[in-house]
């Protein structure tokens, strides 16, 4: 199946003063693809993601979405952070609608999208609750739902499950795959957890140490949901782990 290119990163460079964090980084992401980005700790993964989301401007090079330079006004960008970022002062319903409200005025449309998303995430019964009344995993579900509800051109996730226990993590990993399949959005997911990367991604990008660039890309043709004990799964995981270790 020929997918078209959604995101094109061309010779991306980022320096903070003399410190070169990202240098000469180029790659492509296809429409509707689920990509994981892994790399050694501190190699600049978060900086990388921040530039994709246009929170940071590149020193050189460009990030293009649908052929145009990425920007929050032009494109629908959604970012999920490591810390739960559901607004505590909004109800679940209001949180879900927040991303949409940035660019849409049509109340009916917003309501429709929000309802759909809440149903998909199973959050309907919590619609009038506040995030602090709910568990952390539910809170992150709100965040995921809010992100997908925006109909994003690009959905960026920065180690969103890093602070959670294993059970919650497994659960949310399955959830994000489920929603992704349903909505068919382009996702870039950063993690330092190789198993998680292999569990989720269609393609894994391995970054080098600073100054970071794409060292290798690994395509994972396994179907979802994946079995972590599958020998092919294990092989890929070990391979990637080795790749990272030697840097």
């Amino acid at each position: 199946m020929e997918r078209r290119v959604k995101v094109k990163v061309e010779k991306l460079c980022k320096s903070f003063g003399d410190l070169k964090v990202i240098e000469d980084c180029s790659f492509q992401i296809y429409d509707g693809e689920f990509v994981c980005v892994v790399g050694p700790t501190g190699c600049g993964k978060t900086t990388f993601l921040n530039m994709l989301s246009s929170l940071l401007k590149p020193t050189k090079g460009a990030v293009l979405i649908d052929g145009e330079e990425a920007g929050p006004k032009k494109h629908n960008l959604s970012f999920i952070f490591q810390e739960p970022s559901a607004f505590p002062w909004l109800t679940v319903e209001e949180n879900m609608a927040y991303g949409l409200r940035a660019k849409h005025k049509d109340k009916a449309y917003i309501k429709e999208q929000t309802e759909h998303m809440m149903e998909l995430m199973g959050l309907g019964k919590y619609r009038r609750s506040y995030p602090k009344e709910l568990s952390t995993s539910t809170e992150q579900k709100i965040v995921i739902g809010r992100a997908f509800a925006m109909n994003p051109d690009l959905l960026l996730m920065d180690e969103p499950y890093g602070q959670m226990d294993i059970k919650t993590r497994f659960y949310l990993e399955d959830e994000v795959i489920r929603i992704w399949k349903e909505c068919q959005k382009t996702v870039v997911f950063i993690t330092h957890n190789i198993e998680e990367a292999v569990y989720l991604a269609e393609r894994v990008l391995i970054l080098t140490n600073k100054p970071a660039k794409v060292k290798e890309e690994i395509i994972i043709p396994l179907p979802h949901p994946r079995n972590v004990e599958d020998p092919e799964f294990v092989r890929i995981r070990n391979y990637i782990t080795d790749q990272i270790r030697w840097w």
Binding site: P72, S85, K132
Partner: protein, 277 residues
């Protein structure tokens, strides 16, 4: 099934223990107040302290009771005095809220404004309200405007500081998320900054109200013919210690009530906050 029962039993026991804790605290509070009042009454009944220095709690309650209907010696009933003071504080506090809250929030969000206003604010901030009286008399006269200004001054500062700090402490993650959504700086200020600042801003309001109510005595010192502070001054002039203490007591109790009322409102507006058990 059994597990469920065990859990419920445990939860019930916890609730029961918590209620006992609260009852204990309440009882301790009542006992300590009782001891305090008894010691006070004893000091007076046994004439350990002279009548021109301290008056017994019974006489104070009497004074309050009588003052409710009697205009002597200052010319107003207790209620008239209460309303007069209340009016001053309401105007002063209200103005401080209307001006101070937006100002603090905007200063906290927009650096240039902060830099512009800061120096003036820092100079004004430490001035005691009484020091303003001479200037205020000349500029604003001696009426409600002048007295409310004194109150405005003590309430303005904590409101500005707290809303400023509150909005400055907004979690960057929230701001970043709003940015990626494509919100303008102004909209992020309104939808993220302001709500995030509300807990601290409210704390500032509670402090401000306490300050303002406590300053009414100083404000009424400027010039007055009614009010609780005025009542206390007149009590002093006419040697009515019972009225002085009664005035203090009423001021204290109303101050408590005002704070409680404000905290009630806070609890409703900020119902999204983490509830502390």
């Amino acid at each position: 099934m059994e597990e469920r029962n065990k859990l419920e039993a445990a939860a019930g026991k916890l609730r029961f223990e918590r209620r006992r804790e609260r009852q204990k605290a309440l009882l301790l509070g009542i006992i300590s107040i009782f001891i305090f009042l008894t010691v006070w009454q004893m000091l007076c009944t046994l004439h350990i302290v002279g009548e021109n220095v301290l008056v017994s709690p019974i006489k104070v309650i009497q004074a309050i009771w009588i003052k409710a209907g009697d205009t002597r010696p200052d010319g107003n009933t207790l209620l008239q005095n209460i309303l007069s003071s209340f009016r001053l504080v309401l105007i002063g506090f209200g103005l401080a809220l209307v001006i101070g809250l937006p100002l603090g929030l905007l200063m906290g969000w927009y650096r240039p404004l902060d830099k512009f206003i800061r120096p003036i604010f820092e100079i004004i901030r430490p001035l005691p309200p009484i020091a303003w009286i001479p200037i205020v008399i000349v500029i604003l006269g001696i009426g409600t405007a002048a007295k409310s200004f004194i109150i405005f001054f003590t309430t303005f500062v904590p409101i500005v500081i707290n809303s400023y700090t509150g909005i400055r402490e907004t979690n960057q993650v929230y701001i970043n998320f709003a940015k990626t959504c494509g919100y303008s700086n102004w909209r992020i200020f309104r939808t993220v900054g302001i709500p995030s600042a509300m807990p601290l801003a409210f704390a500032g309001m509670v402090i401000a109200l306490g300050n303002g109510w406590g300053t009414l005595v100083a404000a009424e010192m400027l010039a007055s013919n009614s009010g609780l502070g005025y009542m206390i001054f007149m009590g002093r002039s006419y040697g009515r210690i019972d009225i002085i203490i009664a005035g203090m007591l009423v001021i204290g109790l109303i101050g408590l009530a005002l704070t409680a009322a404000l905290e009630l409102i806070e609890g409703y507006v900020l119902k999204w906050r983490i509830k502390e058990k």
